[in-house]
């Protein structure tokens, strides 16, 4: 058995979160999520949390486990033996209940970076040609599962909630760097704003927290350089020569 210390918050009942302890079986294959499911099914049906695919791809089950943002389906109880395992909601988000956080802020910000392909001119009848090398330019940034671990790890987002945040900027960059896309200029106002890439002070924890190797910190630094160069061009070059 291993002790799980789970943060509980029930609006209307609790003014602030409390910690509740449960004993769950310690099995080799069990993820932290399996422990939570054991609690829900056998011990306490009132515990609320999100989960779905339990294979690290749907992005639902982000939580703070022993102080670090993690996907609870991909974090194993045995790694915390003999315990206890502290399970808290993701940091930097309002808590709706127990381990469920409110991510509507991200959902509002995401469309602002226009995370869709913007193509000027004709769309071909067949496919756009794109070599594997051209795909490598953006592939990493397309791996984001929107799990919010990077926002939870980011102290800038904690202190400045207007910050667009790592995932949203990385997704903007994902399209900017796609050889089929011509939307970089349309995304610039948002990405290069004070609440965009420039708000990032390169803590780098987003990339450490990312379970999918997206490297949002890298995406943001790269974008800063692009934005700086294009601002310089705007300043120095006559209108016609800008691109």
């Amino acid at each position: 058995m291993i002790k799980m210390e789970v943060t509980r918050f029930r609006p209307g009942e609790d003014d602030a979160p409390i910690v509740q302890s449960y004993e769950v079986p310690l099995r080799k294959e069990w993820a932290v999520l399996d422990g939570l499911n054991y609690i829900k099914d056998q011990l306490d049906g009132t515990l609320s949390y999100r989960w779905s695919c339990r294979m690290g791809i749907c992005g639902s089950c982000g939580m703070t486990v022993n102080g670090k943002p993690q996907l609870s389906c991909a974090t194993f109880l045995t790694d915390y033996a003999p315990g206890p395992v502290r399970v808290e909601p993701l940091r930097n988000f309002p808590v709706i209940r127990d381990l469920v956080v409110d991510i509507s802020d991200f959902m509002t910000k995401l469309p602002k970076v226009k995370p869709w392909l913007i193509h000027d001119g004709e769309v071909p009848e067949d496919e756009f040609l794109q070599t594997p090398r051209e795909m490598d330019e953006y592939k990493k940034y397309s791996m984001c599962i929107n799990c919010m671990l990077c926002y939870s790890a980011c102290p800038v987002y904690a202190l400045e909630p207007e910050f667009l945040g790592p995932a949203a900027i990385a997704l903007g960059q994902r399209y900017n760097l796609d050889s089929r896309d011509d939307g970089a200029l349309e995304r610039r106002d948002v990405l290069a704003s004070a609440a965009g890439a420039w708000a990032c002070t390169f803590v780098g924890e987003c990339s450490t927290a990312c379970p999918k190797g997206v490297d949002p910190a890298g995406a943001i630094q790269r974008y800063k350089l692009t934005a700086a160069v294009s601002a310089l061009k705007d300043f120095l070059l006559p209108r016609g020569a800008r691109r």
Partner: protein, 576 residues
């Protein structure tokens, strides 16, 4: 509370998003809403790995794709629907390409295709081995550009509103607040996916509880071919995580406990070092899962705490192929099984993966209930018949999602009358019912999890890969008992804020309906075809059963003949 839309799409996965954008394009004046119990990018489309089939390669043809699909489905297939499907699939996949989907490429920049089980040609498009993930995120992010599509994220639909044989909207509960809302609409499109969670061991996500199927059946639309449950031959033991068929398409082997490629003993061809299309490891899923059961009976599988397994061997493919074509497989194996497929054998066993059956629809996604449409796994058109071929389900989402969206947009155009008062009354009744569930379940004596576990065990035992009259009869009796005990199910949680226990209760209610439908259809079909294998009736019986079963809420089953256009029923031949 009441709100109004022209069309409500229930479910925000591949089919739902495609349907919603199809409506927005067909008629931008229509108000479209997507109601989904999870944020759309969490939908289970995200878990699809291997690829999406569509004819694009030189030397391939629509006829061959159609024939593979019809024979793969053991002829229980609507052939006119298949013809439409194979024709529209390439267009739909190209459309996604134009929206930014990172399909894997050949060195010259053209779309690459890979082999897949039961397909005679290489025609499966892929985005490494995260095809569903990339498709879903492309669809979702593109849908964000349609600012007129209204989303109800994390809303759970509990009822379809029906009056005078016509659909008038849904009742849904907002998870975050517990608010119950009547959402009036002239048409509803069900895109809620499958119901793998009816079984104990499944690749399906926790959300796959058959909600849409049960809702439609309760609203009067019959479910079709529910006895056909696909077991994928290669799932990881314990978790049930899918190891994609693409592993075998790239050249992986299935080995029994003696290291022997046992599929050669089951009329699936001769082993060769390189993969051969429609042969051995590239046979169809039903035949491979059945072969596993025979190996197990012969004592040639390996016992583990999580059931018998065989091995999937990828070692000879080398690190480069695995890292470029199957990186997710390597990630999943290392994370969840603690093994490296470059150096070690992957333990696998058959796992419930997909429902061939679903809400009965025509070729445009229309159900027999006026205004109610369905697309994707929740629906049964049927292009999948008795056994779906791998990589046909992803293009199916798009082709029939678009068709259902367009058909619904056309349908609402001709409507003039709004709902009668009876519809609002239904909404109020449903709200009262939900309040009562929350308050009155305090005195219950049965745990939801116990009922669910018993239901799942019943299904595996009675309606697994092999069934017979006796096992199905026992399952029917047990399910009846569980249905009665469900009335005494308790919930501890009486909060209106993000009450996941209430949702579990409602999902279990739906799943019990689905389980009973599966068992009813399986009991009546006294033949063996595709994924439905009766040990007491081992032969296919075209004379009596070349027809779809339609099951109603009452449990009554009727039959509908299969549409045959160009491919008369024949023998399914693999590897010879």
């Amino acid at each position: 509370m009441t709100t109004f839309h022209n069309i409500v799409v229930v479910g925000g996965g591949g089919a739902g998003l495609r349907a919603a954008t199809a409506i927005a394009e067909a008629n931008p004046l229509l108000s479209v809403a997507i109601v989904s119990k999870v944020y759309p990018m969490r939908s289970h489309t995200v878990s699809a790995e291997g690829g999406a089939a569509a004819v694009i390669a030189d030397g391939d043809s629509l006829d061959e794709h159609a024939y593979d699909t019809v024979s793969g489905g053991d002829w229980l297939v609507e052939q006119d629907a298949v013809e439409a499907f194979v024709e529209e699939a390439p267009r739909e996949l190209l459309r996604l390409e134009h929206q930014g989907c990172p399909w894997s490429r050949k060195p010259d920049g053209r779309i690459a295709v890979r082999a897949f089980g039961g397909m005679k040609k290489k025609r499966t498009w892929f985005a490494a081995d995260k095809t569903g993930f990339h498709m879903l995120h492309t669809l979702f992010q593109t849908a964000l550009s349609y600012s007129d599509i209204v989303r109800y994220d994390e809303w759970f639909v509990t009822k379809l509103l029906i009056d005078e044989g016509r659909v008038h909207g849904v009742v849904a509960i907002e998870l975050a607040t517990g608010r119950v809302e009547t959402i009036i609409a002239n048409a509803v499109i069900m895109c809620t996916g499958g119901c793998g969670r009816v079984f104990p061991f499944t690749t399906n996500a926790n959300i796959k509880t058959g909600d849409g199927m049960a809702l439609a059946q309760r609203a009067g639309a019959p479910l079709k071919d529910m006895e056909f449950v696909q077991y994928h031959p290669t799932g990881l033991p314990f978790t049930g995580i899918l190891i994609t068929e693409a592993t075998r398409a790239e050249g992986g082997w299935l080995l029994n406990k003696d290291g022997y490629r046992y599929l050669q003993d089951y009329d699936l061809g001769k082993p060769t070092p390189e993969p051969v299309l429609r042969s051995m490891e590239l046979g169809p899923r039903d035949r491979l899962s059945q072969a596993f059961m025979h190996e197990h009976a012969k004592g040639r599988t390996i016992e583990t705490p999580y059931g018998p397994i065989v091995h999937l061997d990828l070692r000879h493919l080398g690190a480069h192929v695995i890292d470029t074509k199957l990186p997710f497989v390597r990630e999943l194996c290392s994370k969840y099984q603690n093994i490296d497929p470059v150096k070690e054998l992957i333990p696998v066993r058959p796992v419930v993966h997909y429902m061939m059956g679903g809400i009965h629809t025509d070729i445009n996604g229309a159900t027999p209930v006026e205004g109610l449409y369905a697309a994707g796994e929740v629906a049964c058109v049927s292009i999948n018949g008795a056994n779906r071929l791998g990589s046909n389900s992803l293009p199916e989402l798009l082709v029939f999602g678009a068709r259902a969206g367009e058909a619904a947009a056309e349908y609402v155009r001709s409507l003039r009358t709004g709902p009668r008062n009876a519809v609002y009354a239904q909404g109020n009744d449903e709200e009262r019912r939900l309040r009562a569930e929350l308050d009155q379940r305090r005195k219950g004596t049965e745990r939801i999890a116990d009922l669910r576990t018993e239901m799942q065990a019943t299904m595996e035992e009675g309606a697994g890969i092999y069934r017979d009259g006796d096992s199905l009869e026992k399952a029917a009796v047990k399910l009846h008992e569980l249905r009665e005990r469900f009335d005494r199910a308790a919930i501890d949680d009486h909060s209106s804020t993000f009450n996941t226990e209430l949702i579990s209760l409602l999902e279990l209610d739906f799943m019990l309906d689905i389980a009973q439908s599966i068992v009813a259809c399986a009991g009546k079909r006294t033949e063996s075809r595709g994924a439905h294998q009766r040990t007491d009736f081992p032969k296919r019986d075209d004379e009596h059963f070349l027809s779809h079963s339609l099951v109603h809420r009452s449990g009554e089953v009727e039959y509908l003949p299969v549409t045959i256009t160009r491919w008369p029923p024949g023998e399914r031949v693999y590897g010879r």
